[in-house]
Amino acid sequence: MRPTSRRATANKGLPFSSSPLLAVKLPAWRSRFVLFAMFAAFLALAGRALWLQGLSTDFLQKQGEARYARTLELPATRGKITDRNGEVLASSVPVKAVWAIPDDVLEAPAEKLRALAALLEMPEADLRKKLDSDRNFVYLKRQVEQETVDKILKLQIAGIETRKEYKRFYPQGEVMAHVVGFTNVEDSGQEGMELGMQKTLAGVTGSRRVIKDRLGRIVEDIAAVREPHDGRDLVLSIDSKIQYIAYTYLKEAVDKFKAKAGGAVVVDAKTGEVLALANLPTYNPNDRAVLTGAMLRNRVITDTFEPGSTLKPFTIALALDTKRVTPTTVVQTSPGRLTIGTATISDSHAHGPLTIAQVIQKSSNIGTAKVGLQMQPQEMWEMFTTVGFGQQPKFGFPGAVAGRVRPYKSWRPIEQATMSYGHGISVSLLQIAHAYTIFARDGDLIPLSFQKLSTPPVGQRVITEKTAREMRAMLETVVSPEGTAPRAQVPGYRVGGKTGTAYKIVGGRYVHDYVASFVGFAPASDPRLIIAVMVDEPKGAHYGGDVAAPVFSSIAGNALRALNVGPDSTVTSIIVPANGPQESM
């Protein structure tokens, strides 16, 4: 027990300075070791601070922010497409894409899956096939409407998620299909104006960074908002009423003659705006499950054909313009056959001597060829290219074709002769309609537009005003009982135009199928509309005057009435006296 008692006494009574512990000599390395350890600890702390504050600060701040800040995508809506009167032709509506995490969904009870399949309008087997996948993300169905989505979410199946997207609706359906076109599920244009104007129609999605609170409410913006820019709305030149008229009567003719296809285009002669453009066969852009290439084809713009006689007025106009002939110059077309070199051309009926006006009225190939051969190939070529044949069109429509006019240097006389009446040259229907503006407009050519214009464009003079008037008078005789298209007459209005009947070329050879066409303007006193109609492979009749002219007549009559154009021909009219209408008439 001695040592204990000794320590106790030492604690009690000894002053610090005389403590024997101070006298103990420790080795020097022990204090140095403690000093070093402490120094090392501080160094470690400083290093850590430097690491956190200096080197990994970005990473840490990001991690911190990720716990409360969110980046939201601000969706932009694709612009609407409307017709010239503001009627909506295409509009985007938000819908949902339904997707699934397969493993989670498959745990749901069978009757729920059956209900899900019914809501998604797919057989249950298909649904299970889709879910039988190793992936974590499977689209079940895209572009599902909100009502259906609400029902699906009500089923409360684990692993079913939705994502916002847009669906494009086309209320006018097949009537407008070729002009408006359509978009794919990614909301980008695939056909028609949807494709042509993709850049301005598509919006730019924006984004914003925000702080969200515990309940997911947005509390504050923490960075400048990148505003979304909605796509710009597009106002087309199309008038949906006239479009419907054109479509209805074209369809009637195509059905009646069991034709393979047809096209019609209506152009405003004053402004160059395309008021209607109809194609058959067509498709419903809202339901594209059964699309074929033939349905998609926009024949008016992307198909070329040998126009035949509808081109004769250009040859005659050139001859009139260069003062080689006058409307009363007589050309001998008897005996209805003409041999040039080794080839022979003929008229469908022999006519004998005809004036130039009658050549147009009766559509004489020989008469036109004789006039055409008086001209230099270069002059004719210039005429054709000036009015746009063989030139890449600037319609602002995707897929517009140039057609084909061979360089004049390689023309042989027989080719020049056939070209004068529209063979050996290929154009699209829209190009012909465009070219006819020179007759409908006192000799100048204006560009066509698919978008509504605020100011009429400036024309480019091609033929003199006098020639244009003479041509209009000649073209008006075509629809007289002695002409080739009396059935193009429109009650109440004076109209003019030209028939065309051309053999089709398949694989470089002419076959016994026809393209019947009619291009004309109305009313003839002051043309407002240019209407071109083309019917491909009609059965039963094949002349332009029998097949296409009646379509022209119906479209012209109804469209002029729709546009409130007063009649310029003899009609019964009630004259309202200046002092107002009276009861007794």
Partner: protein
């Protein structure tokens, strides 16, 4: 003297701090309100385009013509049955 000043300063400081808290609270509350109003605006926008679509679908010329023919027994006007009323007597 300096004791009184510091008391005043303390009171001012506390007031300022409290008003900051209040301002921040108000800002967040208004912000949430703005958010809500904006989302209502978006919703109305969507509804508007939906209604426009409906209008266009229901006002389709094909549908009007069909209804006019079927329900109202209307027929297209022909030139023979048309009389034009001219504005001025001559």
């Amino acid at each position: 003297m300096s004791g009184r000043l510091s008391v005043v300063m303390t009171i001012l400081l506390s007031c300022s701090a409290l008003s900051l808290v209040n301002a921040q609270y108000q800002a967040r509350r208004l912000f949430i309100e703005l958010e809500r109003a904006q989302s209502v605006a978006r919703q109305l926008d969507i509804e508007w385009s939906q209604l426009q679509l409906d209008q266009s679908t229901l006002g389709k010329h094909a549908r009007i013509e069909e209804n006019a023919r079927r329900d109202l027994h209307m027929v297209p006007v022909t030139a023979a049955r048309t009389q034009y009323i001219t504005g001025e007597a001559k």
